[in-house]
């Protein structure tokens, strides 16, 4: 055991949400090895069986769903959808949003006007409208769910990045490097980004949790990943129709989703405290 661990057990303990998140991510990565069954394998003779049900040597540890699929295997595989969708959409919207925000604040003038009005426009279009249109134009599917989420969320990063960059753009070190002929990408990447990354990380962590919930919401509205792919959101929205008769279908993915979002929220909260700025 290292000295740091021994000396600061309380600080470390405060980071348990990170451990939880790591465990869920590991679960997603190792899904094919962890899951006891094929998550899409149906068995119409074993529909809606309670946890612990056993048939022909197969043990349904967390029960079976409305098509006789193993809930445990689907929960494990569902981690992939939730986490990959959330990570990708946060990355995509973060990169685009931050770039737009920084450029607008740094270059000012007509670039600022055009970009920030574009941000306003996207903020005013209902997310659900964008979702339906994306699915109608590009077709349904996993990649397009990510695209939908990124399309609706990038303006938020743009807003934060814009505000933060504005405050920095007139600082002496930025002016100096500009005067010395540094290119715009260079100034933004080397001088501005490192100084605004903190608050952006906080936003991104909180957005991560939100994206997991959004993906679930899209599934509820029939716009999520394609069946039969297992996703926590899809399992929850189907399973809520079975609460009285087969509580396990929704409860286990619900619990997993809750833990994922909660850990992201707690980490974001903690990061925010560290940086000294709430959202």
């Amino acid at each position: 055991m290292s000295a740091a661990l021994a000396f600061r057990p309380r600080t470390l303990a405060a980071w348990w949400p990170a451990g939880l998140l790591a465990a869920l991510v590991a679960c997603a990565i190792l899904a094919p090895w962890l899951a006891p069954m094929d998550p899409d394998r149906q068995n119409l003779m074993a529909r809606l069986k309670a946890p612990g049900f056993e048939a022909r040597g197969a043990l349904y540890l967390l029960g079976s769903d409305e098509l006789g699929r193993d809930v445990l295997s689907r929960v494990i595989h569902g981690a992939r959808v939730s986490i990959v969708v959330a990570v990708s959409s946060v990355l995509l919207s973060g990169v685009v949003g931050v770039a737009v925000g920084m450029l607008a604040a740094y270059l000012r003038g007509w670039v600022e006007t055009v970009l920030m009005r574009l941000v306003d426009i996207f903020l005013s279009i209902p997310a659900i409208l964008l979702a339906i249109i994306t699915v109608a134009v590009l077709g349904p599917g996993f990649i397009n769910v990510i695209l939908v989420l990124a399309l609706t969320r990038w303006p938020r990063y743009a807003r934060v990045a814009y505000g933060q960059t504005l405050a920095l753009a007139d600082r002496p070190f930025v002016r100096l490097s500009r005067a010395m002929g540094a290119s715009t990408p260079r100034v933004l990447a080397l001088h501005i980004l490192p100084n605004i990354i903190g608050p952006l990380l906080v936003v991104a962590t909180l957005e991560f949790g939100l994206m997991v919930l959004f993906e679930a919401g899209l599934s509820f509205l029939g716009l999520g990943v394609q069946p039969p792919m297992a996703s926590w959101g899809a399992m929850l929205s189907t399973g809520r129709n079975y609460i009285a008769t087969a509580w396990w279908i929704a409860t286990f993915p619900g619990l997993a989703l809750f833990l994922l979002v909660l850990s992201a929220n707690l980490i974001g909260d903690r990061l925010g405290d560290l940086i000294g700025k709430g959202r």
Binding site: R117, S124, I133, A136, L221, F258, L266, D269
Partner: protein, 307 residues
Amino acid sequence: MGRFLLQRSGQALVAIFGVVTLVFFIQRLTGDPVLLLVPETATQEDIEAMRRTLGLDRALWVQYLDFLRDMASFDLGRSYIRNAPVWDILLSRLPQTLQLAAGALVVALVIGLPLGLVMALTQGRPVSRVIMGIVLAFQSLPTFWSGIMMILLFGVTLKWLPPSGTGTLAHLVMPSIALGLLSLATYARIARASVLDELSKDYIRSARMRGVGTGRLVRRHLLRNAAIPVISITALEISQLLAGAVIVETVFAWPGLGLLTVQSIAARDFMVVQAVVLLGAFVTIAANFAADILYTVVDPRVRLTKS
């Protein structure tokens, strides 16, 4: 001041125009309402005839010019599906949406702000962490799940509240909570941060040294000064509440604008979608505008021209 207002209004109008134009064109990329309107047995000729009746067979730019002309005279057009003026449909849904947004705001403010205050005052103690954990937990459940659970518990098992629908104050309780819980953590966090910020300032320290009690401090100084961030976040939340209530409205059969939006998009009822988006854009921009003005009322030190 006057020039600032003018400039801002001008930019707002441009943004609204952009939104509406964008929505006009992109939603027409997704097909049209005709196939949903006609019976399954309708022939290709029936379908074409219906398309002509609705004017959807015309060139896109002709339809757009038509739309702009109507806009200019504040005519929002007619719903294809309901065959009624869009204005009437919008106005019939607005009160429901406002009620729900108000209810959710009350829930978020009445619970969120005191929790934030308590967290700030107990900063560093386990109480603070526990409260934050609970608040964040509320935010970590999908609404379509927590909503049906509330209905089953309070509506079916305990029979304390009507399970769905509108009409009485009792109907408003569950949807407001379901929607309000989402914003609650935001408020708690903001309240905590701004109270902590104020607590570290000199005037509070000196007041404390003079022996002014916590309760008095909170009432006389803290709340007032912590109000600004709360106002600005409320402006953002209001537009969120108007647009983001879709799932709550679906689960609780609450006929607000969110549900109308989803149903209209699902039916490709273009005119209604455009109108809702237009209204949403107005509200978003107006709320932010109102927030700016409120700052000056709450705290005279802030002047509009500064921004």
